[in-house]
Subunit: 409 residues, 2 copies
Amino acid sequence: MRKIADQWLRDILLVLYQHRNVTRAEIIADTGLNPASVSHALRFLLGQGTVLKVGDLASDGGRKREVFNLNAEAAYFVAVDLEGQRIRFALMNSVGDVRYRWEEDLERGEPLDVNKLFVGVAKLLRNLDARQHSRVVAAGISYPGLLDAQGRLTAVNLAWRKFPLLAELRAKARLHKMSGLPIFLEPDRHSSVFAERWLGCAKGHQNGLLLFSERGIGIGVFLDGKPVVGWRNMAGEIGHITIDPDSEEQCGCGKRGCLETVASSSNIIRQYVAESPQGPRDASSLRITDIFEKARQKDAIALAVVERAAKAIGMALSHAISLLNPSIVILAGDLASGEDLLLPLVEKEIGRHTLADLSDGLQIKASGLGLDMRLKGAAALAFRQSLADPALLKKMCSPALARHKAAAV
Amino acid sequence: MRKIADQWLRDILLVLYQHRNVTRAEIIADTGLNPASVSHALRFLLGQGTVLKVGDLASDGGRKREVFNLNAEAAYFVAVDLEGQRIRFALMNSVGDVRYRWEEDLERGEPLDVNKLFVGVAKLLRNLDARQHSRVVAAGISYPGLLDAQGRLTAVNLAWRKFPLLAELRAKARLHKMSGLPIFLEPDRHSSVFAERWLGCAKGHQNGLLLFSERGIGIGVFLDGKPVVGWRNMAGEIGHITIDPDSEEQCGCGKRGCLETVASSSNIIRQYVAESPQGPRDASSLRITDIFEKARQKDAIALAVVERAAKAIGMALSHAISLLNPSIVILAGDLASGEDLLLPLVEKEIGRHTLADLSDGLQIKASGLGLDMRLKGAAALAFRQSLADPALLKKMCSPALARHKAAAV
């Protein structure tokens, strides 16, 4: 029997992960592998139960083409989103669906307690039977802020400064008897980008911008299919570009007229409260969804602050679009819940400030992945990294057929 | 004898091109090849005369380390810069030095006459003796505007619209009996980036921005060492971002407050003339260097228009820096001649509008390559592409020692 190259398996599994249902011809086209290699590797993957044949498509000539997808239950991945206010956990199957989820609140401003992380993972795994347990391949963690070369995490918004994340993960994994579970880490901007590229609206796009707004505003940039990192891992830190040079509003960074002071969720709420005729009241009782709802009901102040934010975002995006010529721009985070209000305004503003050659055909969309975005990204990370590791790849391709057959009965 | 892999030769020649004088240890470190492969390939290249041993460095331990460089006269490359107002030609040796140059004026607004291009190349080659002639490997052309998938060139500023450049090059090469000379093409932004990365101040930088200003303004972006292209090859077209939303000045593109209307050379001159107390006069008699000279002599109007341009450029760059986190920003084109005035102003403005984490340590420089920038980039393109082509690589490595020895006599 001819040897099956690991690279063939990797390429084929990646195509199946990204496109779910694919024909042999599509696999050949997407991987660039020769047809004999694809057939050979596919036969192996079908035999193992890693890949399933799910049906036939009648082609134009009446000849049937087989359709394949990943056996969703052949491998599991743990996904962790260190969102900041809480840790979110999910066990994802091999096609990016959430099987179990769990959340754990964090103390704001306290150093991260890595024990909570392993307790949460243990809670996820408790739901699995022995067979499923043996098919958990790896974990992916999406983290905010910057991880330095010494593995220390700094996330200013969370008051985490040089927290020794890597060392803590290693130490606590031993303590919780989880040293056998490989853990991969990725900054949240990249997790979001991968989630959108693999499972969201950036599928098939090679050049795009993902603007996410929560407490702060950042852009995840991907070019030629790869996330942009920058010299010191700070690419996308656009929260503090000057968007309104004449503004008197002071930003937390010390400058005036920053994008965040105009357009972040908390600042949209702040502006609404400040302008409100009832006079100043407690902004903490309001959520960004409340402001969007008021704007939908034609509340003039809500409309004005939302419009101001949309214009600022549109202006910032027009600069980024002119610099990088993407084919898609995605709004994500808190602001996605106001897509009905924001998208038309942002699109209009981009049109006003951008050459037609750059904006014609450009897609401007809101993310549909919601709160799961980074969890899906973290799972995609674990999947991708496991493919790259020969031992984990072997685990992903270990016989899963018995279970599949049993499930089909 | 062990076979020498073409890839070893490519990697070693690239390192020598970029760094000129290198030791064996540096070649091994930079290429990542194993020492035996490097020694083997180096012995071959020395034997051919493609590479020369130029001396010994005494290392700390007193042991001498051999220093190598490319035999500058082992290969020649034709470089063409379709600058727009004229075609610039140079014959470059294999270390990027200009051996001969030639210019040919173009009629503004007329379709390009490709015959002129081959006439200019022929003039360059006429200076060579037969031996040198046989060592001309390839030509690189730097072009403005956009080349579409059908090989048609559109450069709006030059009134070239869908000019069939590739077809014309093929047809006229036959006519001028130059079909044997491989021609490689590259957009001017990329040529500039490669010139700065190989021979200018971006050496050793992986992430940078090259802002060039002539009639228009654009940015050449490189990330992870590679130029950014964008979805439709339009990355870097920042001339028409809105930089002054309140401006009444109408841009050629129809919008108001575009970066170009404030900061391009012709618009700096336009503003100076408009503000000048002598009243409007003919702007065509002034060059940008005149405005810079007046500013140096503390002419208030010249200082004001230069400062306005610098602020606009600084603001545009601060957005780009926040988005991409480069380690170097280079000002090139007409504006480089005013670096003494512009650099401090641009640097100050970047500091005002950019997070310290992004601007600390960032280098902001003026290009030192002057008018030769794109010619050097076009030669670098021809060099790089020739390495990738097995037949041209062979030509680059054909015996050159006789000539070298003769020259050394």
